[in-house]
């Protein structure tokens, strides 16, 4: 959802303050208690523990419900511990609700969108951060301005366009409109502006490298950390995107969120199977979170550091 532009915009706000490059590096924001040094008392731990419980419980319970059967999950008191049917239900959700197809589609959609967003954002972000050209500031303002436009505004003509292009119900109709992101451009610009020394580019020019070569040999290696963060954030967002895919695709060829919406609409009656579907839709991202959680958190915080 659009809420994701928050860090970038918060950042945009305060570009006049002198920056402290050391603090802008990715991951730095993770340093515990960087701002205030008060130690947390027992009450803080209790409250935080409660917050973590509230955050994680629905995810845990999805797993519990997905591992029981329909009669058990609809009894009171509800089950709190996993049952024996997890794999049976997962298999059923996989076949009954087209989850296999949906997962493949989501992987393609989110993968392509994340790759292309990262590539084009780095390209444009580099130009906006380090190259001089006429109209740079106006064009950058234009990029920022596009973040404020709600996606709903374009869906009707977009739907017609996709039908005309012969992409109705097909993956390109979901992929193409999201191939670039203004947030990404701005995010990369902010990073490269500070992390990429002008001297390095000049040295490259003196050695006779043209811009594309400089981009390839100097910018890309330096921009790797923010590119990774942008990739993950874009992937999560594209994987979870609902409104447009729901309109553009149908049940024969859904992405995960579209398939999940059908689960609720009586496509499958068995509650445990429905929860198994929800679990399947969440698992890949959850796995990514367990592996890269620290980096994703750092990336989201990174954007907002100067707000």
């Amino acid at each position: 959802m659009t809420t994701d532009i928050a860090p970038v915009l918060a950042d945009a706000q305060d570009r006049t303050t002198p920056s402290r490059p050391a603090e802008r590096r990715f991951g730095r924001a993770l340093r515990p208690g960087a701002g205030r040094q008060h130690h947390a008392g027992p009450l803080a731990y209790v409250l935080l523990g409660f917050a973590a419980l509230v955050s994680l419980f629905p995810l845990y319970w999805t797993m519990v419900a997905a591992s029981t059967d329909n009669t058990r999950v609809t009894q009171t008191p509800p089950p709190f511990l996993p049952g024996p049917n997890l794999f049976k239900n997962l298999g059923k959700a996989w076949t009954d609700a087209a989850m296999g197809q949906a997962m493949l589609n989501s992987l393609i959609v989110a993968g392509v969108i994340a790759l292309s967003t990262v590539f084009f954002a780095t390209l444009a972000g580099f130009a906006f951060a380090k190259l001089r050209f006429k109209g740079r500031n106006i064009l950058l303002m234009l990029v920022i301005g596009t973040m404020m436009v709600p996606p709903q505004l374009g869906v009707v003509p977009l739907f017609m366009m996709m039908a005309d292009l012969g992409w109705g119900q097909k993956l390109p109709s979901v992929i193409f409109p999201t191939l670039v992101s203004a947030v990404g451009v701005f995010f990369m610009r902010q990073y490269l502006k500070e992390a990429l020394p002008d001297e390095l580019i000049e040295a490259g020019r003196i050695d006779g490298a043209h811009s594309l070569r400089i981009f390839w040999s100097i910018v890309l290696p330096i921009a790797r950390p923010p590119m990774a963060v942008l990739f993950m954030i874009t992937f999560v967002q594209a994987w979870n995107d609902f409104f447009w895919p729901f309109i553009a695709l149908d049940m024969t060829n859904p992405t995960i969120p579209v398939a999940l919406s059908q689960l609720s609409a009586g496509y499958v009656r068995d509650q445990s199977v429905i929860m198994a579907g929800a679990l399947l839709g969440t698992l890949p991202l959850l796995a990514m979170f367990i592996v890269f959680g620290r980096q994703i958190v750092g990336g989201i915080m990174q954007g907002a550091v100067k707000g």
């Binding site: 928050a6 670039v180 609902f242 550091v305």
Partner: protein, 337 residues
Amino acid sequence: MATSTPAAPTGGQPHPASAGPPGKGGAGGGSSRQSRRTLIHRLDLGAMPYGFIAPFFLIFGAFGLYPLLYTFWISLHRVELSTMHTREWRGLANFTDLLQDDLFWNALANTFTIGVISTVPQLLMALGLAHLLNYRLRGSVFFRVAALAPYATSIGAAALVFTMLFERDFGMVNWALGLVGVDSIDWSSEKWPAQFAISTIVIWRWTGYNALLYLASMQAIPRDLYEAAAIDGASRWQQFRTVTIPGISATIIFTIVLSTIGATQLFGEPLIFGQGPNGVSGGADNQYQTLGLLLYEEGWKNYQMGRASAIAWAMFLILILVFVLQRVIGRVTSRKS
């Protein structure tokens, strides 16, 4: 995909070859090669930046800007989904129809109430959570990742789980309420409980995300401000109010703006919560139909693309109105204090 990018340098190269500038003193081969190189160099400096930003603007123009403007044109017509290319001019009739449509006002009111009861608690809780996370903590990474985990859950999965938790007969919420002696609540068919349940999904998914934004911005507040406040005898709470809140005010404003945009567009949560045919109409009595759902219903259930476009523009105009109001209120209150 990347065609437009490499196209720029290669497209530029024939130029210096044909234009091989003879007017530059007419020196030997060496210097002409050099001037050719400077020309390539100049073209590289002059044109390449545009090549770098072109993909963004081309794709955005085709799939973002163009549909957006086209929406307005469609909103002035009668267009049916089945015959999308036959248009009948209606002028502003789609808009005036909306103003007389009870469903529109109902959806507008629901969008507003769900927006308020999901955004206000969400941001307040995020502020509290950020404050806690800002302490020196053991296991701070765990708490941060845990707080952000709901953000990684798709709307579909989140809405499905909460729909079950809020189920009338066997849902865990009613069971827990039963333990403390509260009668079962019919979360889906009564208006306020339904709106509350839908807001819960939104709050659950976004609180941690906002908390991390606040936390990042809290960590940028210089420590000496707290020390100065402490020397002046300010309590922890007073420090929070007089140092922390003003210090992150810019971030707070932006989370308000973005939550507002999100709230205006609310779609998936009520749709899935509605389970089945009632989903799009937002419950049997439209008790939680949002503007997003109404847009979809008009366009893809009633086949009236013109009306759907008018709703899209109405949403946009309302958004602008909210921002203007926010600015005015912000200015008035900041002048007072």
